[in-house]
Amino acid sequence: MNPLRRFSPATFVIVLAVYLFYTGSVSEYDLITGSIVALIVSFLVDHWLVKNESKFFSPRRWFHAIVYGLRYFLIEETKTHIDVAKRVFTLKANPGIVRVPLDVESDYGKVLVANSITNTPGTVVVDISDDGKWLYVHWIDVSTLDEKEVKENVVSYFEDYAKKIFD
Amino acid sequence: MIELHLLILVIVVSFGFVFSYLAMKEHDLLKALALSSVQSTFFALGFYILAAPDIVLAYLAIAVGAYTALVILAISKTERYEVGE
């Protein structure tokens, strides 16, 4: 097999970026050593980290990722924080674990959805089924048990973006 | 202002002492290990306050990383509970 096929440009970029970020300086020495390290690592890990290189370098996906990040941290987080704070003071809570279907195909998309759900207060992902099709979510206010409505309330906002970014 | 550093250190060593005492008294080794990792984390903060970034890097990798993994491995290969007095 052609050894050059093992080289993964996306991994190279990620490693170099992390290296420079941690070092905190962009001198000649850093660039050279960083590139060498990134080259070695990207040959070693093959396409294990990033399966599809073209997806990684697509500007459209990056744009969605940035938009999602801003909206998530500025709007969604604030909303849920206020909601949970209200519940704390009024003692209105109806906790329970619900099962939610998951439509995202890629692994990273699933991780993004699960972590986004966990990071917003009020909802925590407890488990994921072995085939990756179902999420088990602990929800502070189980208002409905209908699958579609649950999905609408808990997952769909994140999932739309996850699909745009990773699928 | 140096008192601020020393006050944080006082908190660090007090927590360290309390948690290492608890670790000694605990019969469940997994819990004892968790308690001693609390102590390690506080000590990392202590090294940080004492202006020793090199030690912090080495100590964290050792005490929070490799050492914990090693002891969990040992517990999983031997017994989890210490036999009481």
Binding site: - | D28, L45, L73
Partner: protein, 94 residues
């Protein structure tokens, strides 16, 4: 009131809150009836500590000290994975 002093005030405030959180986590780690409680407390304590370190780093105006915080956050993740795997499967590296 200029920006810097306001920022420092916020820092003071957050440092105090982090320190209070230490105590709460510490209580949970001491009391925690099950092992899972203790592990969760250790985990939260580690991340809390990392954040506290960053705050202190800003306060002392030293970038160097922030690198420890990044490392601590990463290591705490490893600690969780190990505990979890042990509690779930009994053996770790299989």
């Amino acid at each position: 009131m200029n920006f810097e002093s306001a920022f420092l005030n916020v820092l003071y405030f957050s440092a105090v809150i982090y320190a209070l959180a230490f105590i709460l986590y510490g209580i949970r780690a001491i009391k925690g009836p099950t092992t899972a409680d203790i592990i969760l407390a250790v985990d939260c304590l580690s991340f809390d500590m990392a954040a506290f370190m960053v705050v202190l780093g800003i306060y002392f105006k030293s970038i160097m000290l922030a690198s420890g915080a990044i490392i601590l956050a990463l290591w705490a993740f490893m600690l969780d994975v190990y505990y979890t795997k042990y509690v779930l499967y009994g053996e770790v590296e299989v």
